[in-house]
Subunit: 432 residues, 2 copies
């Protein structure tokens, strides 16, 4: 018989176990997402984590589908993929029920996504991602709302304006710039886009030499470099900013500033990886000089629903991953302190008092308290210690005296104060 | 060029799309699960949906791993599986951090699970499942708590005692019965267990003929049939119920009745599919004669953590799937009516008033209301109609008069009443 292989205790490579303390941070992040998305009137939706692979072949971009998906053939011969992003799914869902749905649609979801990448800081092989999308509104007002939602989330997380930047660009402007202004071939334009997208991950020298290689032209390459450094549309050449797509973008950024987003600005390197974007694109960028990088972003995709062979439905949205934002919140110490969901720990003095303890617990649960019971046969002092170690705020011991008198000594671990109260009074004591 | 295949609008076979109305039911179910699990002091945890396949080879049961998993080889050559159940994962997590964790552990989770099965009523290829588990307590008190949690969930869902039954058995008792009392070989005993597990899915005749075939003995087969019909341990042969494992089970069931679970009873066919159970097992069974079947269940698995090569940690838990419970709730009309998360719809009279509408929305969101804005350029009457169709409870139109006066006409769709109020009064009006 072959030697039995020892089972691994670790989670699968690039994935995470959420023990209750980690889950607490997760729930906090999801809670802020839900609050803001619903605050703006977005309704929650969801779908299966498995989709047919064809869904991503159409528009997600070649790099993702060829190198980064978890794809396989199922037992029925179907080519399926664990979703790497949610936008194709939501577009499919909108296309499917477009006749019954009331437009405009405001939807959000917090799906789990998988990508086969080299695990590194802020990047794992799975993450959870808030997706906020609006369908059926083509006007700039929708674009403004989307960036405002992103900004509100950052504010509610407690991020200060100087800790991040909202960088805005437009695919329409980028197309004008590369195709019309610089007269690049479609292939060159695509390569320059992808290079912009990588700009903050490579050195300045590398960026410049690749730009020269793609354009094959020193003049154009140098103008592109100077544009890549622009922090405002004002800095661009006159002939560029005179174009209608630049004027629109400028008006858009000014409006955002007027709406209270002081840290918004133009940047040409904001391209976003997906091929489906058609209009405004934006990125929230960590301003920390030690770890500058995009935290999240999104944009307008007016042609995505149409790929399902149905009429065109304009769409706009963004995605915000839990791994990157958690890293950001930890960096700036913005995560709240752990607090277990348990309010009170009941420690029966010994097995004789378990029934009485159960009755008390039952009463308190009906009142809405979260109550855990110690069912072990260890010493009562150890039971109390365990509750303290678990950071449960209150403990009560149930013994002969409590059963007889109907009075309970409830101890608050925080200040070690003890209160002798009736079961009816326990609720008020703990709520306070 | 080959003709381009039309992209499918459907979700992947055996999976579901959750549009907001479906998601509402889902959120309701998850909310009840969370409330009860946390009420009993259980802390939430989670883990990746992908695990190494070896994790399931050890204890999930051969049928599952050979025929029902979504398994594949990843780009790095690892054999991975989309989890078909959560118990192996939680056992792995407990084994991994057993030195740091405070025992006993009370944890719950609501994971998404996948099984490759023929989709049918109450069974899809994916579902979400509440998992409630306790580690580190071997006493019957833990078993009692587990069944009480299951019963509380059914009560909070509004299920009446006569609509379901809690059926209890014990692997220890079953082992005594098959191995010691009937003197079956291990292979025969295993086959009889599996037959019991399928008992309510096959005809009585098929059950009897298979039992005869396995035991090869008319006497034993007939006694087993009569035991399979017993609705209480009292009905069993004297020599059987005299055994210590039967007495324990009887005491357990009586205690549950005393704790207020009137619809609990013994049934030998409650085996549960997983190989890892070692003690008490239970099943909540739909009493509807038209669709009798197990809704959910669980049991004690004291040796599961030990398979990771660490010291033994007793465990007990149950899993409750969303597909089956939703079907049950629909059957008995227990699902709440749909209500969108949006409180108020703001309809600007035309584009001129979008800024004013945005300001009002901003104010109301800070006060905690969920407010959607109509950003289309359609007629205002169509905007109002859209809100009604979406079942949003309140609507307000913003035009010249509202901007000038600071008074807003808020309409309640339910009774068509309109109130003219200041922005400060809107919150109170809607909350009421």
């Amino acid at each position: 018989m072959p030697e039995k292989k020892q089972l691994s205790l670790e989670p699968y490579k690039g994935t995470r176990d959420f023990y209750p303390r980690g889950q607490f941070a997760q729930d906090y992040i999801f809670g802020v997402w839900k609050k803001i998305a619903e605050g703006y009137g977005y309704l929650r939706y969801d779908a299966s984590i498995l989709e047919e692979t064809d869904l991503y072949r159409a528009k997600s971009g070649e790099e993702i589908i060829n190198e980064q998906t978890y794809s396989f053939i199922d037992r029925g011969g179907r080519d399926v993929t664990i979703r790497p992003e949610m936008t194709p799914t939501v577009a499919r869902m909108v296309a499917q029920k477009r006749k019954e749905l009331t437009f405009p649609i405001r939807w959000y979801s917090i799906p789990n996504l998988f990508r086969y990448e080299r695990p590194q800081r802020g990047r794992l092989r799975e993450h959870w991602q808030l997706n906020v999308d609006m369908f059926g509104v083509e006007s700039l007002e929708a674009d403004l709302e989307m960036v405002n939602i992103a900004g509100d989330i950052m504010k509610v997380f407690g991020a200060k304006d100087e800790q991040y930047e909202i960088r805005v660009n437009s695919r329409r402007f980028l197309n004008f710039l590369l195709n019309d202004f610089f007269q690049l071939t479609p292939e060159q334009a695509h390569k320059v886009s992808k290079l912009f997208d990588r700009m903050h991950k490579i050195s300045g020298g590398e960026f410049q030499s690749q730009l020269l290689e793609i354009t094959g032209d020193k003049d154009r390459s140098e103008t592109l470099i100077s544009i890549s450094r622009a922090r405002s549309l004002e800095e661009l050449p006159e002939a560029v900013k005179a174009h209608e797509s630049a004027a629109e973008l400028m008006a858009f950024i000014n409006k955002l500033k007027n709406q209270g987003l002081s840290n918004v600005r133009f940047e040409i390197s904001v391209v976003r990886g997906f091929d489906y974007y058609t209009g405004m694109v934006f990125e929230v960028f960590d301003a920390n000089p030690v770890n500058p990088r995009a935290i999240f972003g999104g944009g307008r995709y007016d042609d995505l629903v149409g790929i399902f062979g149905v009429e065109r439905v304009p769409g706009i949205g963004f995605g915000m991953g839990d791994v990157v934002i958690k890293d950001f919140l930890e960096t700036y110490q913005l995560l709240p302190e752990y607090k277990p969901s348990v309010d009170l720990y009941i420690a029966p003095f010994d097995a004789l008092y378990i029934d009485a303890a159960n009755e008390l617990a039952k009463y308190l649960r009906v009142q809405g308290l979260n109550v855990a019971m110690d069912l072990t046969d260890r010493q009562v002092s150890k039971k109390v210690k365990a509750a303290d170690k678990e950071q449960i705020p209150f403990v009560v011991v149930i013994g002969e005296q409590e059963v007889t008198s109907g009075k309970f000594k409830v101890k608050n671990f925080k200040d070690s104060k003890e209160f002798e109260v009736s079961k009816e009074e326990i609720v008020g004591l703990i709520r306070k």
